[in-house]
């Protein structure tokens, strides 16, 4: 492909991704006692490798980043390092029951020890809440909707993986991030790029969550079950529940990778598909994808409504070949792949920088909305379920 056209295609997709946040904002990191972060991590180091690890790595990144300032008077944003998704079951799943109290306790601490919270009631503070439904702090959607976003975080900016339009748990102005996927592990499974892509559609995962929803219909709103029932006999669809050791290699040999919703609409499959150059087929109505203002998801992936799942094969085979090749070219853009990752140490253009870019784009703060007049109070400190008010 001629170099000129190559550059044009890449440049058009990559400008915002390559913005450098350094110099555009200043972040002050609160020094919380270690019971909010370090001690929790010590108790369970699995928190560093599961898909919610972004909250921990974000903290570490900010501590050593050039955007960090030790002078809170000149800070634009304030970050509270509280690891709310690190209370794990023996199986490794995070329990969200204590998270609201933990968050509340942290906010009480910062509002009493520093004046900056009361100045704006949190409007220039941001929190990383990577759990299933973000700051609703529950894994079950109905319960999460009932709880709603924690009332104390009403004015703060939330950095979360969950994103769905018109949903209680997605606040206006939140920044959606990808779930954590281990960068080194994916690097070690790369295969030569000239290996021909011979699988048409690839998916590995559950179709029915037999433990919690044996008849189907609840899990994934029935979409995954529909995929299985309609396409289990189709030779073009390489789908199954087995977990092969060559999972990453197989993704690199596939043209399309299905990314259907599960109990929550987001999944690490999206990150894996982008890294391995497989066009993501997103089956989740009204989902809000990570860094949607910087990454042109419509041009990279294929969006299929849940009601159209039975016609998935018709939809995918009727995409013109040129469109498919263009999507693959955009996916091959290294800045796209970099934006999905949380590498250690941080690299330019990675997800940490995209979060900072997102925060920088929200500056300057609106004087009227953000800064409160003296004596003005908006937050209700006693709102929410009674259990939340217990001290942590």
């Amino acid at each position: 492909m001629p170099l000129k056209i190559w550059a044009l295609v890449f440049c058009s997709a990559g400008d915002v991704l390559e913005d450098d946040p350094v110099g555009r904002l200043k972040v002050f990191v609160y020094e919380l006692p270690s019971k909010y972060n370090k001690k929790i991590l010590q108790k369970d180091p699995r928190c560093l490798t599961h898909m919610f690890a972004a909250e921990i790595f974000m903290h570490r990144f900010l501590l050593s980043s050039p955007v960090r300032t030790l002078n809170p008077e000149e800070a634009d944003w304030f970050y509270t390092p509280v690891y709310t998704t690190c209370d794990l079951t023996p199986n490794g799943l995070p329990l969200p029951f204590k998270s609201p109290r933990m968050m509340r306790s942290a906010i009480q601490l910062i509002s009493s020890n520093w004046p900056y919270w009361n100045r704006t009631e949190g409007a220039d503070h941001f929190f990383v809440v990577p759990h299933d439904f973000g700051a609703c702090f529950h894994y079950q959607e109905e319960k999460a909707i009932e709880r709603g976003i924690l009332s104390l975080l009403q004015r703060a900016t939330l950095v979360q993986t969950f994103g769905q339009r018109n949903h209680v748990c997605l606040k206006e102005g939140s920044i959606t991030i990808p779930p954590y996927a281990p960068p080194q592990k994916m690097q070690t499974h790369l295969i030569p790029e000239k290996t021909p892509r011979s699988i048409f559609v690839y998916f590995r995962g559950l179709f029915y969550d037999v433990g919690n929803d044996p008849e189907g219909g609840y899990y994934a709103r029935g979409a995954r079950a529909a995929v299985w029932e309609n396409f289990k006999d189709n030779p073009l669809f390489d789908i199954s529940t087995e977990h092969p050791t060559t999972y990453y290699e197989d993704m690199q040999r596939a043209v399309f990778c299905l990314c259907p919703l599960g109990w929550a609409p987001w999944s690490p499959r999206l990150v894996e598909a982008v890294i391995f150059g497989c066009i993501p087929v997103i089956i989740a109505d009204d989902i809000v994808l990570p860094f949607a203002d910087a990454i042109p998801w419509e041009e990279i992936g294929v969006f299929v409504d849940e009601k159209d799942v039975p016609n998935l094969d018709t939809i995918l085979t009727s995409i013109p070949v040129e469109v498919i090749l263009r999507k693959q070219r955009l996916l091959a853009n290294p800045s796209m792949k970099q934006a999905m990752l949380f590498p250690q140490p941080a690299q330019p253009g990675d997800a940490f920088h995209q979060v900072l870019n997102g925060l920088a784009r929200k500056l300057p703060h609106d004087r009227v909305a953000v800064y409160l007049k003296p004596g003005q109070k908006i937050l209700n400190w006693t709102a929410g379920p009674v259990g939340d008010l217990k001290p942590w």
Binding site: R197, G211, G216, E229, V255, K307, V309, I319
Partner: protein, 503 residues
């Protein structure tokens, strides 16, 4: 207390019992309202009825109540409770979901709760779409090759010496199919001993490749040594054609009984002047009985397949050659083409070399000095490899990761000299020959009938026991069924073979 109950329900998420949202909601705030009490009582009643009936009848009730929404209704066979059921109902049940919807927001498009599993009436692949998908895959792979594969691929010039004999079709078809799969431009030079024949011509015409079919005046001799010599001469003849026509590309030697892998054709594009490849030697022996024991002993000492090709030092520079050690096979080697002994390769095989065709041209300015002119080697009797054309053999480039990758295999297998085969392998007119059996009269009673049934039933039992746990139920059923048929068929053929042996 409450917390531990919720904790318990979360842990049960990974076990078999499902605490549905109805239970959670009711356990949450205690007796909230008459509506909650009513739903709880109804839920309890339904549970009791289901226990009595033996299946969850609530779906059936809803199905009957709301069957007016038939447009969205898909039916599927009602499977037993052990398998995952796919009876689909297209509306939303569980009124608790409606309670949970926020009051002060516009109702979102996506609703929480139980949804139907949409299955289209004919959930099977559509052949037209399958073909479209294959074309998409083909195009994607072509694009991949263009981006990551060889840039500016050169034309391949394949040289094949052949002659008409029983196994010609077998061997030549193999080579032909390999060459047809090559994604680059190709010129196939077929040199035939004994002059061109219609058989060979019709065979290679099926390939659709650009072919140059020439005849060589001598007939193929019957001893292997002579055959190797003649083949070398035929290859030189082909090289002369390359020289005269000034064909531009890479010359490779595809002997008709060799096996080539597709990576070979990608790898030889990397050659600059003369390259050498590792060739796996399949020196088999026809004597299955007597040499099997000694062969087993030899396998313990020797490597499994001998490989002939370039030898490199640790800095990937050519330092020597690996050649075939023919000493173990000397007694059992074949001399004549239809002998039963092992057919041995020579020290070097032409197949393991590739040559840039420009080296063969008459007046090529950039020809390096170590390359002799083709006309000078005319009279030389025995040419083992293109190395005779070079004054200095150290400039040969080792290909395939310095010879570590074996991408082609050498084999010589021929039929008995008195073997008869129909011309063109077409039986025309169809056979209608009555041949008397060796033993007359033919015995009336079919022998050993009970043992056939017994062996089939034993096979069936074994198949039934060995059935693996199903992840895809229909597929494993299909495969075990066909396995059963296959076992029956093999048993029958075995029995009939035994019969003929007795006769």
């Amino acid at each position: 207390m409450k917390l531990s109950a919720l904790h318990q329900s979360y842990l049960n998420r990974r076990s078999n019992s499902f605490r549905g949202p109805a239970v959670d909601a009711s356990a949450d705030g205690g007796m909230k309202s008459p509506a909650a009490v009513f739903w709880l009582a109804l839920h309890g009643l339904c549970c009791l009825i289901s226990l009595v009936l033996g299946f969850r009848f609530s779906r059936l009730v809803f199905f009957l109540l709301f069957s007016t929404s038939a447009t969205n209704l898909y039916t599927a066979p009602f499977r037993p409770a052990t398998e995952v059921s796919d009876v689909s109902v297209s509306h939303l049940s569980t009124p608790v979901a409606n309670q949970a919807l926020p009051v002060n927001k516009t109702t979102p498009r996506v609703v929480v709760g139980r949804h139907g599993i949409r299955i289209r009436p004919w959930p099977h692949p559509n052949p037209v779409e399958v073909m479209k998908a294959h074309r998409i895959i083909e195009r994607v792979q072509r694009e991949q090759r263009a981006q990551f594969g060889v840039k500016n691929p050169r034309t391949l010039i394949a040289v094949t010496p052949t002659y008409v004999r029983t196994f010609q079709t077998l061997h030549l078809t193999g080579v032909m199919h390999s060459l047809m799969l090559v994604p680059y431009d190709l010129v196939w030079i077929v040199v035939e001993a004994g002059g061109t024949s219609n058989e060979t011509a019709s065979l290679i015409a099926k390939s659709g490749l650009r072919t140059i079919h020439v005849g060589y005046k001598e007939r193929m001799p019957s001893s292997w040594a002579d055959r190797h010599r003649l083949e070398a001469k035929m290859r030189l003849h082909a090289l002369k054609i390359v020289r005269e026509e000034k064909l531009d590309g890479i010359v490779m030697f595809a002997d008709d009984s060799n096996m080539h892998s597709m990576e070979l054709f990608d790898e030889i594009q990397n050659v600059k002047w003369v390259g050498a490849l590792s060739v796996g030697i399949l020196a088999h022996s026809n004597n299955a009985d007597e040499s099997s024991v000694s062969a087993a002993e030899k396998e313990a000492d020797n490597p499994p397949i001998p490989v002939q090709g370039p030898a490199c030092n640790s800095s990937n520079k050519l330092v020597g050659w690996h050649t075939f050690n023919s000493l173990p096979y000397v007694e059992k080697s074949a001399n004549y083409i239809d002998d039963w002994g092992t057919v041995l390769p020579r020290k070097f095989e032409w197949a393991g070399f590739v040559v840039n065709s420009r080296l063969l041209w008459k007046d090529y300015d950039e020809k390096p000095e170590w390359m002799k002119d083709l006309a000078l080697v005319d009279g030389v009797d025995d040419m083992e490899s293109p190395l005779v054309l070079m004054k200095d053999t150290s400039v040969v480039e080792p290909l395939g990761r310095c010879g570590r990758q074996v991408m082609l295999w050498w084999l010589r297998v021929e039929a008995r000299s008195d073997s008869k085969f129909p011309p063109g392998w077409v039986i025309d007119p169809p056979l209608e020959i009555t041949v008397p059996s060796k033993r007359t009269p033919w015995p009336d009673a079919p022998p050993e009938l009970p043992s056939i049934d017994k062996s089939i039933s034993v096979q069936e039992q074994m198949v039934a026991v060995k059935r693996p746990p199903k992840t895809r139920s229909s597929r494993s059923k299909r495969s075990s069924r066909s396995k059963r048929k296959h076992e029956a068929r093999t048993v029958e053929t075995q029995v009939s073979a035994k019969q003929t042996e007795q006769n």
